[in-house]
């Protein structure tokens, strides 16, 4: 029916002068946009199949390709924008929930970009990281409230289990299933080389990756996929996933088409059956239930692993975090509403949850008001895009940050937001062997190491500029931040002054 036809959002522009009809684009595009027309000896493109992932653009040997936004438009309407109208057509045609992936792309305020960082001038010296030690080592876990000594007066140094990070950046949860074997391997190798951690997500741990256990956080989510004693004991820490920033309040769905033999084995579910994780944990309907699971996992691992509880940033996040801090959890991970996903209902992704900057500030303040900030470490994600975001997050009060979208970008992701199709041309969000092999884990891990190393340099440079030579002196040091263009309420929640004040 003609009414269902939607004009493509993107047009493939091919420079006929430059194109040599080598057909690389055709071979590279899993969406089958490009084809060769024998009659005319020319390449042609089906714009309607293009997801704007730039695979063809970056591999075209003569730089003949570019993708442009269409100038086709609906009659302009500030309320009924083209995108809104098209969504109505889609739903009228299918009766389905609109699906989307990666983080919330809407124009909400990005508070990171409205916060500025301080530097030393005159009254105290900045410190040059090339000439002086600059420390970023971070421990995550509960801290002892009271010094205890043995009979000889020596301090008893035994603590609750801690994670030791050389830099306060970890790769956040992405399941094997939502991303490929090679993407997982890239993350594992990079975490090992960097002295930090990657996270299995709720997809279990492939047997090949048990060797990276010291740098692995294993996740226990509502579907319990792949969870068994060996798995729990394989990692350095266990994360209970209560929620995800991209889709607070709902579970997950990995389509059966992605569940081949390997994933089926890793997740301990039948091949080609949809893997649906429930919205809540059906053994956690309240905070006291969470405490039971926290201690069940501690028992299962003989109290040797810190337990992380990951929640989505929602309206009453500070009360929730305060409850979690008293549940026996060692670390709270909070995921902001711009966090990524392999697939989520578009309306949920775009409308549910709150920005991580506000959630973090509010939680850190509340835990301090209650005097329990040292009982628990705070990790935030969704989304941290640069070293400057890392600095701002730590100064607002985070112990460490989670990065996922940034890591995928380093692996080649071009943020086309079509992960749910399973046809990722970059070999990341796909299980098709011919696509997966495009991502070389050696190259991928090196790019991840490069990215985090670059951020590390930048963090040290900015810390030195502030006259701070150890990351713990930055944590919660909100005097180092100023707001720009923020109103009184926003400043008050962030706990910072306005620039000039």
């Amino acid at each position: 029916m003609g009414i269902n036809y939607l004009y493509p959002d993107y047009e493939v522009h091919r420079d006929r002068e430059k194109c040599i009809s080598c057909r690389v684009c055709e071979r590279q595009c899993a969406n089958e946009v490009h084809s060769y027309d024998k009659e005319t000896n020319r390449m042609v493109a089906d714009d309607s199949a293009c997801v704007n992932c730039h695979r063809c653009v970056t591999l075209c040997p003569t730089h003949a390709l570019k993708i442009v936004k269409t100038d086709h438009l609906f009659k302009e309407n500030a309320n009924w924008k083209g995108e809104v109208i098209q969504d109505i057509y889609r739903q009228a045609a299918t009766g389905g929930v609109l699906l989307a992936s990666m983080g919330n792309p809407k124009e909400y305020p990005v508070y990171w970009d409205k916060v500025l960082i301080n530097a030393s001038q005159v009254t105290n010296p900045s410190i040059d990281p090339l000439r002086e030690p600059m420390e970023t080592r971070t421990f995550l876990g509960q801290k002892e409230a009271k010094i205890r000594r043995d009979e000889n007066g020596r301090i008893i140094t035994k603590t609750s289990p801690q994670l030791s990070l050389t830099i306060p950046i970890m790769f956040s949860a992405m399941s094997y299933g939502s991303i490929s074997y090679n993407a997982h391997k890239s993350l594992a190798l990079a975490a090992q080389q960097l002295g930090t951690f990657y996270n299995t997500g709720e997809g279990g741990l492939h047997e090949d990756f048990y060797q990276y256990g010291k740098n692995t956080i294993v996740q226990v989510a509502s579907g319990r996929f792949g969870v068994h004693p060996g798995y729990l004991n394989a990692g350095a820490a266990i994360e209970i996933k209560m929620g995800q920033g991209a889709k607070p309040g709902i579970g997950g769905h990995l389509p059966g088409s992605k569940i081949g033999q390997d994933i089926s084995k890793t997740r301990m579910i039948p091949e080609h059956a949809d893997a649906i994780s429930p919205a809540p944990h059906h053994d956690i309907y309240s905070i006291e239930d969470l405490r039971q699971l926290v201690y069940a996992l501690k028992e299962a691992t003989a109290y040797t692993k810190p337990i992380i509880v990951k929640v989505a940033a929602v309206h009453n996040i500070s009360a929730i975090a305060s409850g979690i801090a008293r549940s026996g959890a060692d670390i709270i991970a909070i995921d902001g509403f711009r966090g990524g996903t392999g697939a989520a209902p578009a309306r949920t992704r775009d409308n549910v949850g709150i920005p991580i900057e506000l959630a973090l500030a509010s939680v850190d303040t509340r835990l301090r008001q209650e005097g329990i900030r040292n009982n628990v470490s705070l990790v935030v994600g969704g989304s941290i895009r640069s070293s400057a975001d890392v600095i701002k997050a730590i100064a607002l009060g985070a112990d460490a940050i989670y990065v996922a979208t940034g890591a995928l970008l380093a692996l080649g992701c071009h943020l086309c937001r079509t992960c749910q199709s399973g046809k990722c041309n970059w070999g990341i969000a796909t299980q098709k062997p011919e696509l997966v092999k495009r991502l070389n884990p050696e190259v991928g891990s090196q790019r991840l190491v490069n990215l985090i190393t670059a951020w590390d340099h930048e963090i040290k440079e900015m810390m030195g500029g502030m006259g701070i030579n150890s990351i713990e002196a930055l944590k919660g040091n909100r005097l180092m931040l100023r707001g720009i263009g923020l109103n009184e309420t926003e400043l008050q929640i962030l706990g910072i002054s306005h620039a000039g004040n």
Binding site: E132, I147, I155, R368, E472
Partner: protein, 367 residues
């Protein structure tokens, strides 16, 4: 007082930074001596202050009341005095009270009412609070300073006292007639704030119970330290480095029971690279302290002299970004920002040394 936009913020209303001169003298034999040598020492470093703050702490100066807390108070109004005395009477036995004797000095102006009380906690109140005597007293001091407008307890230890004002330290010493006091240990501070403090509470030393701190520096970890220590009942009303450092030392030394050396392994912790070269047991200890009290690490330049009952401790930041010199002659130990400030009172010390960054110099009375 100016009004509206033209009024300068007072100390405590925003954060000021300052450079400074510090000096400390102790006689390890416990012999008591007047503050004259401390005044002479600090006067050599006149150019390190700018007349906007000076002060002294003397230990062993109230032997006749040595078992009672000596509260020194600034009052900025009669109402503040009435309110505060009401509070004191509710919580303490007042053994003695009087104005602190002063003498006019043309360079010291705008003085508040300055009073001294020797007190001891009311036994019934203390018992019902279920607190140790020191903790009870510290909480009362923090309550007065954060809730009674215009009243400020600037000294609250036993057998010790702080004397401070807005002015050059040598003038402050004369103003308080410190030649008349004798102690076994003195510390002194001359301040160079980048802003006008506006009131006397902002001058140093800063003290809580018998801990007093004089400090030169501007710490970059301030808000990390402040937001952490405020979890434990402290209230950083002055927004100064010295205040937060004093609270952290009180928390770690008195409340957590760390030794002074262990306190230094928290606030001026060795670098991880240094720790990694130590013995296994030391690595465990140092790592434990850095990890457990991570938010009490102080970064940025500082040199401090901590006074406590029976001794002195000097400490530099880990990079030694501020000058600090130590010397000894017989039982006397001298600590100062500049060597000249020591030589003026002891021209021929037996030993002069420059303590390394992060390495404390701890001096206690001979036993």
């Amino acid at each position: 007082m100016q009004s509206g936009q033209q009024r300068m913020p007072l100390e405590g209303e925003e954060r000021f930074s300052s450079g400074c001169a510090i000096s400390g003298i102790i006689d390890r034999s416990g012999q008591r001596f007047s503050a004259r040598s401390a005044i002479t020492s600090i006067s050599v470093m006149h150019d390190r202050s700018n007349g906007l703050g000076g002060g002294f702490a003397g230990y062993g100066i109230y032997p006749e009341y040595k078992d009672h807390y000596a509260f020194h108070l600034f009052y900025y109004s009669k109402e503040a005095k009435v309110g505060c005395e009401l509070f004191l009477e509710e919580h303490f036995d007042l053994i003695n009270l009087s104005k602190i004797p002063t003498e006019k000095n043309p360079n010291i102006t705008d003085e508040p009412l300055i009073w001294r009380y020797f007190v001891t906690p009311l036994p019934t109140k203390l018992a019902s609070s279920q607190l140790e005597e020191d903790e009870y007293t510290a909480r009362c001091v923090i309550t007065i300073n954060s809730t009674i407008k215009g009243a400020y307890v600037f000294s609250s230890g036993k057998n010790m006292g702080v004397f401070k004002a807005v002015g050059y330290p040598e003038d402050v010493g004369q103003f308080y007639r410190l030649d008349d006091y004798k102690g076994y240990c003195w510390t002194v501070h001359g301040r160079y704030p980048t802003n006008t403090p506006g009131w006397w509470g902002g001058s140093h030393p800063f003290a809580l119970l018998d801990y007093s701190v004089v400090h030169n520096g501007e710490i970059s970890s301030y808000d990390a330290n402040r937001r952490f220590i405020e979890m434990f009942g402290y209230n950083c009303t002055l927004q100064t480095d010295t205040e937060v450092i004093t609270y952290m030392i009180d928390y770690l030394h008195r409340r957590q029971g760390l030794t002074l050396e262990e306190v230094c392994h928290v606030i001026a912790a060795p670098f991880w690279s240094t720790i990694s070269r130590k013995s296994e047991e030391e690595i465990a200890q140092y790592t434990y302290l850095r990890n457990t009290f991570a938010s009490m690490l102080i970064t940025g330049p500082f040199s401090i002299i901590l006074g406590f009952t029976g001794g002195l401790m000097a400490l530099n930041d880990r990079l030694k970004l501020r000058s600090l010199v130590a010397a000894e002659k017989g039982d006397m130990v001298y600590l100062a920002s500049e060597e000249a400030a020591i030589r003026i009172i002891e021209p021929n010390p037996d030993r002069v040394w420059h303590p390394s960054g992060g390495k404390p110099v701890i001096v206690t009375l001979n036993t």
